[in-house]
């Protein structure tokens, strides 16, 4: 979706303000929101792409005015309510009012380190050949899905070069919608700064994204 999350190249946000000796969390509720989100992943049954969409899928003015852990927390609420694991009336009174739904499993303290260490690798086997190879010129497609995508607006329609064929990875556009992992070839695509930002841009800058094959089309040698 062309939402508030797709920030690359947008203006007016001001300067970057690093905080000296920044703590990992800035308040207790951030810690709890973080831990609840991680702990609910398995029993909740959603995947990381569904989580990202739950966070970004709101009016841009809301997205931009919320803190990061607010986005996480309200994203978690959305995921829970969509699956009827929790209802609004329960959050309102702060107690369970309805019987729990059956869940896959609860994250136990004994499993925490194991689960974190395993993570969630996204590379998958494939029988298909990669369409592109290193040094191929490609154009990022001009797509504007209303649903989750990881193709940022600032590269759409622009020509870059395949720098690396990464492998076959879970395709977020499909995975976020519940349509399955639909693994696709993933590439690092490098763009000249001037291709993205115009001839006045700094010529010493290059920018790359990691793009799945469905985001790309061949570009002619000379255009």
């Amino acid at each position: 979706m062309n939402g508030g999350q797709d920030l690359g190249g947008t203006h007016g946000h001001g300067t970057v303000a690093p905080e000296p000796n920044e703590p990992v969390f800035h308040s207790d509720w951030e810690k709890r929101a973080f831990a609840l989100t991680l702990a609910m992943g398995r029993p909740g049954g959603w995947n990381i792409d569904m989580s990202r969409f739950a966070r970004e899928n709101r009016p841009p003015q809301e997205y931009l005015s919320m803190s990061y852990y607010e986005l996480w927390f309200y994203g978690l609420e959305t995921l829970l309510k969509e699956r009827k694991l929790v209802d609004d009336d329960e959050i309102l009174v702060g107690h369970s009012l309805h019987p729990p739904k059956p869940i896959a499993s609860v994250l136990s303290p004994d499993d925490v380190i194991k689960v974190l260490h395993r993570g969630g690798p996204t590379e998958r086997g494939t029988n298909t050949a990669a369409r592109f190879k290193a040094d191929d010129r490609v154009r990022a497609k001009n797509i504007n899905p209303l649903t989750h995508t990881r193709l940022p607006r600032y590269v759409r329609g622009h020509v870059g070069v395949i720098e690396r064929v990464i492998g076959c990875h879970v395709f977020p556009d499909s995975n976020a919608s519940g349509a399955g992992e639909d693994p696709q070839w993933l590439y690092t695509v490098r763009f000249e700064g001037c291709e993205l930002w115009g001839t006045a841009a700094d010529p010493s800058v290059k920018v790359s994204i990691d793009a799945w094959e469905p985001y790309l089309e061949p570009a002619k040698e000379i255009e």
């Binding site: 690359g8 970057v16 920044e22 609840l36 927390f73 107690h95 369970s96 925490v112 290059k206 799945w212």
Partner: protein, 208 residues
């Protein structure tokens, strides 16, 4: 009401509402048996106390000190980093990016907050903020200036937008004057920002 008062009240009421809601949801999830409170505490403790940029500093220091490790790290970072015991969530597929006298790498996630947790911990607020995410890809030298870093004009800058599940770790250049140092001492020169590409490592004289 002054702007300052307004801002303060606004922040305060929003925080209170969210705080109450987080507490309420945690109680509901616990009562339903979906979460185990001890697991929540362990998750928080892990990222507050154990997993952080000191992990990445050990990786960088080892790469500075050991040319064969450096080669393994640049060739395939995930197993090389796992040699030191760092692996897993948000670091399943790591690529190390080598800074050279002619190339400076900088990492961003314009779409959310993708960051190599096993080696750097959880991202700082600025990394997740609109100013960084909007400008890193369009004006990296301007962003570096916000961090007080100026690079030579002829240094190429490469910005890596983490749009997939590949996580990037910058391998900064080893500071002059650190010849013969132990890995432990070298790690003290490695800053978090130098591994994101928004900073440079400390110089030996900075430690004195």
């Amino acid at each position: 009401m002054t702007d300052h008062d307004h801002h303060h009240d606004h922040d305060h009421s929003e925080l209170s509402e969210t705080e109450l809601r987080v507490r309420a949801l945690e109680t509901v999830l616990t009562e339903k048996g979906y979460v185990d409170l001890a697991a929540l505490d362990l998750l928080i403790e892990t990222y507050e106390k154990k997993v952080g940029p000191r992990n990445g500093a050990r990786v960088v220091a080892k790469a500075w000190a050991d040319p064969t490790y450096r080669a393994r790290l640049l060739n395939d970072a995930t197993p090389a980093i796992a040699e030191l015991g760092f692996a897993g969530r948000q670091g399943e597929h790591i690529v190390a990016l080598e800074n050279t006298p002619t190339l400076h790498n900088m990492v961003v996630c314009t779409l959310c907050s993708c960051y190599p947790w096993p080696v750097l911990g959880l991202p700082p607020v600025w990394y997740k903020s609109a100013p960084y995410r909007s400008r890193a890809v369009a004006d990296p030298r301007g962003v570096l200036a916000d961090f007080g870093v100026t690079l030579p004009k002829d240094t190429d800058i490469r910005v890596w937008d983490s749009t997939a599940e590949i996580r990037y770790l910058v391998l900064p250049m080893r500071p002059a004057g650190s010849e013969g140092w132990s890995e432990e001492k070298l790690a003290d020169l490695v800053t978090r920002d130098s591994m994101i590409g928004t900073g440079l490592p400390k110089r030996p004289e900075d430690l004195k």
